[in-house]
Symmetry: C2
Subunit: 251 residues, 2 copies
Amino acid sequence: MTNAGQTGIASTYAEIRAPRYVQVASTLRRRIREGHWAVGDKIATLEELENEFSVARVTVRQAIELLQEEGLLRSHQGKGTFVMRTPGNDRWLHLATDWDSLINLISANVPRFIDVDTAQELQIDPKDGRPADAYEFFRSVQLKRNEPYALASVHLAKHIYDRDPAAFRKRVALAVIDEMDDLEISRAHQTLRIGAADVETALQLKIPLNAPTAEAHCIITDVDGVVIYSGDIIYRGDQVKLDIELINRTS
Amino acid sequence: MTNAGQTGIASTYAEIRAPRYVQVASTLRRRIREGHWAVGDKIATLEELENEFSVARVTVRQAIELLQEEGLLRSHQGKGTFVMRTPGNDRWLHLATDWDSLINLISANVPRFIDVDTAQELQIDPKDGRPADAYEFFRSVQLKRNEPYALASVHLAKHIYDRDPAAFRKRVALAVIDEMDDLEISRAHQTLRIGAADVETALQLKIPLNAPTAEAHCIITDVDGVVIYSGDIIYRGDQVKLDIELINRTS
DNA sequence: CTCAATTTGTTCGTATGTATG
DNA sequence: ACATACATACGAACAAATTGA
């Protein structure tokens, strides 16, 4: 309940390039998610919100209308505006920090492949390995409960792809690779960054433009130091959770 | 690359609440980042972009102006528009995935403590441990090169705090804990989620409202299963990077 | 029951931003 | 550069519903 912010939305508008009512809605949505206002609670009045964000009454109303359309809020004349439900997210996708759980996580996924006219260029950091002669490029949307949760752009070494093209066109590449028992992997490395959804990502994942995302970059090299797989996977930021054991002496 | 022919940006406007020139800019930014156009390349002409995105010439120009302000593009009358640099950030803060590197990362930090009027409530998931009798609550901004990069909200068990109040009021709590040789830690666990900066976070970290953030929740329990430390640390999303070794048979 | 305070709902005029052709 | 249209945003005033003294 500490609205200490004097500056409000107004001063940030230049940087964010999104309508103010969208920004206000975004902040209110967060407060609901974090339990600042619980379900059933009456949220701050229009006047309070006007002052806090330094916007006009109509702008606050537009933001609240947006959240009413999402079913998060409900306004009643003379009474106030109340929280109907949280922007539900108790269903986290636990990102993997080791190979087996990564495979376990994705092997059941059925990707929906997207047609691409021009392959994305592959840039390989020399410290990650040497490039293979040729690559196949795929792009796919990963679904869970019929909802998109990640957008994958994958470069797969052609000599690996040629071993079972049908499988690679139907299933998640990593799962197919994992099942190739004679294929020796020397290193599989993943880096995770945080980004914001661009237009295509936003559309494919059905999230707002500039919504936070987790961008995983996964590189797999064989015993000769050749990069056989390079994947950029963009996850919805609102569904991703990472568990890290720093110390565990309980077991 | 994208849905080149038919729809363009126009039909997506209703779905994505952002000005079209921002959307076009977002798509162009992505192409530069992904190497569709390399540094030094001439990008598509205004006419080509008009047609591809089905927007007016002026709208494409606005998008390009935005990217010129970011220093990604430069237009030359009669020649075309060229890529100056790629969007990425090269100053990453590598988040830790084990205790020693976590301590190593933060022990040199000098936190700037923030006065708080009301202590944040501490809720402990039973599976994480039992609560201590009492806690001290701190909030601080972590600085690097004199720039804020994280906002920490920490609950520290009072009986630990009382062992060296002066240290805990001056240094990073985890570093002080690490140096207490007689203190037995049974488990230190961290979960990482992705969020967006609310007004207070944005102000403290000097980032735009709703800019992406990494939210780390760190729990430390002693040998009796009592939670002695619970910290919520919000990092700037644009500076955080996580390295995960899935498989490494090279060493 | 009435009155006043509170709170959302509505409207007007104006200004600026966005987008087209 | 111009004419046009629509979206966004402001401030202010007023209307309508609700609540409690």
